[in-house]
């Protein structure tokens, strides 16, 4: 899983049926120090996350499709949590 920030969303009318009715978020993965970690990714929204929020991203298909309740779907990433705090042991 990764920490990311929701920076927007995608509109796509022509798409796999299992993506119907799902918000498709643009997420910027983050390092623990808050800096960008590679390029943006797209993830289906399982927790109604909003733009600007720091989120938990499942980055593997089985967990992603399970989180959005759509088995056997071409989904490989999902936002599965909104992060309140991250604490690192000193």
């Amino acid at each position: 899983m990764l920490i990311g920030r929701v920076i927007g969303d995608i509109v796509a009318t022509q798409k796999a049926p299992s993506h119907e009715g799902q918000k498709i978020l643009i997420v910027q993965p983050l390092n623990l120090d808050g800096t960008d970690r590679g390029g943006v990714v797209l993830a289906l929204d399982a927790v109604d996350a909003g733009a600007g929020e720091r989120v938990l991203v499942a980055t593997e298909g089985w967990s992603a499709m399970t989180a959005v309740g759509r088995p056997h779907s071409p989904i490989d990433m999902a936002v599965i949590g909104v992060i309140d705090a991250v604490t690192l042991a000193a």
Binding site: G8, I10, A12, H19, L42, A51, G52, D76
Partner: protein
């Protein structure tokens, strides 16, 4: 999932039978601003995407799910044609 632009196609008459009748497209991964990022790769098309169109793709085993119950040996598939990319000003 990740954003990409369709930049070409591949014709192969001798191929895995599960690929018969399916388009193999050359795609250029793009960043949130639409600029090319990373190397071009091949993806199997499941939505009828054409050259120049912005799409998004799924990776991994899930990439073969648009064609279930057929077992299609693809690990990257185009699963949506993107109408809009909304990046918020955070």
């Amino acid at each position: 999932m990740f954003l990409a632009r369709v930049v070409g196609n591949v014709v192969a008459t001798m191929k895995d039978p599960a690929f018969t009748g399916k388009k193999i497209l050359v795609i250029q991964p793009i960043n949130k601003s639409g600029d090319a990022e990373g190397a071009k790769i091949l993806a199997l098309d499941s939505v009828g995407a054409g050259a120049g169109e912005t799409v998004y793709c799924c990776r991994g085993r899930e990439a073969s799910f648009p064609w279930l119950p057929d077992e299609v040996p693809t690990e990257t598939s185009i699963i949506a044609i993107v109408d809009q990319i909304n990046v918020e000003k955070l």
